[in-house]
Amino acid sequence: MDARRAAELAARNSYGRLVAYLAAQTRDLAAAEDALGDAFLKALSTWPEQGTPTNPEAWLLVTARRRWIDTARRSQTQEQVFNALTVRDAVVASVSDSVSDSDGATFPDDRLKLLFICAHPAIDGALHTPLMLQTVLGLNAAQIASAFLVAPTTMGQRLVRAKAKIRDAGIAFELPMAEDLPERLDAVLAAIYAAYTQGWETVDGADPRDRGFAEEALWLARLCVQLMPQAAEARGLLALMLYCEARRDARRNAQGGYVPLDQQDTRRWSQAMIAAAEHELAQAASLSQLGRFQLEAAIQSIHAQRLRGAAIDWDALVLLYEGLIQLSPTLGALVSQAAAIAETKGPEQGLALLNTLPAEAIANYQPYWALKAHLLQRLNQAAAKEAYQRAIGLSEDAAIRDFLLARSQD
């Protein structure tokens, strides 16, 4: 294996573990990342000449640690942190030694602490996901900025400020107390789900070619399940994303046109992923802690029944949405519930529910206008035209825009 490939693999497999461990030791996330970044650069220049070390992870850890000590020595402002390190120096050294003798799995996995820090309530909610993508997965600010529709320099500055806040506010690298755990876990899972949806108003409308951070989000969810096997909601989230991912290719037809969920060709769904989702959801249910992600996964599971030739059970969907809205009354859930009610009780009832939503909240919410247009059209009302216009104007995806344009002319 060549040095670059070895460094890449080490990066993917252990970047987050190394950052988490170094950050937990130094209490300075940005400094830990910088030191590790330098260690990776050094690996790229020395491994080709001297050969790949037997334990690349340990090599990176030791090199990053040395690098961090050098920087801390040079920096007067980091004197306090340096003192903290020298106390731990012996510990780190002994850990590093034990790492180098083994398969690299002996230093503690602090990634769970890191996930909780990224989604800490003291950090702006909009930065939870970007922080996770950067610190746990090593993505750069420009990659993250594009997905979240933010200028790259702005995203870079926000991440730097968030890390400074974590350091300066002394946010502890500890797991939350038991009483805070459900709420803190929800923030972690919501941030992972945001990496999956990355600004799409509905995953089912998302452009399937744009894989975005779908794989990263699934990876993070699997990590949460692995680190917290008893957390039902972590499994619920993993199930939810697997259901959505299973249908990725079916969201567009051969001509690139948008295909609504209830019209997707089930032969283009991934049966393996749906089976994996069902498995996670069943595991979650056995833990008896209901939560929003399990409900959202259960909703997807109803749609997945079409794979077995079953019709969509809209009554079950109405009930599940009702439960979801009680736990988490998001605009998306309310609009989806209206769609389910329109199927069971008729378009008038769906519209009646839509009309109760506050005007300010729905003004620029594309799914609201798309559903409203659809229901008005079913009732042959002229106002459908105007609702279609709004939905078209608010659409970001060209395939959905074309789909709505075609429907508005029916």
Partner: protein, 113 residues
Amino acid sequence: MRYAILVYETEHDFANREQHMPAYRAYSQALAEAGIMVGGAELHPSHTGTTLRLQNGQRQVQDGPYADTKEQLGGFFLIDVADLDAALDWAARCPAASNCAVEVRPLAPANPA
């Protein structure tokens, strides 16, 4: 904060403007309904432009655009939103974002002190 959403179009887009009209009408209506539309205009294709410059006191007038590139400025929307994040959210909905490109630029204050 005021921003210009500069709409870039390919030659193909220019040639098929009629086809894109309904999408642009819906987009500008959405901007208006959101209460953020300040202005905007559609430009004729770049070959209809005339470029003028004074070089060493000599007038130079040439047919065509200043920069002859494949993608051309096809029009612009002026919007008034809280910040660049909000401007980018709206720019993403502009049909040109999926066909070619849009550029978001802040407007300088109308009356500099």
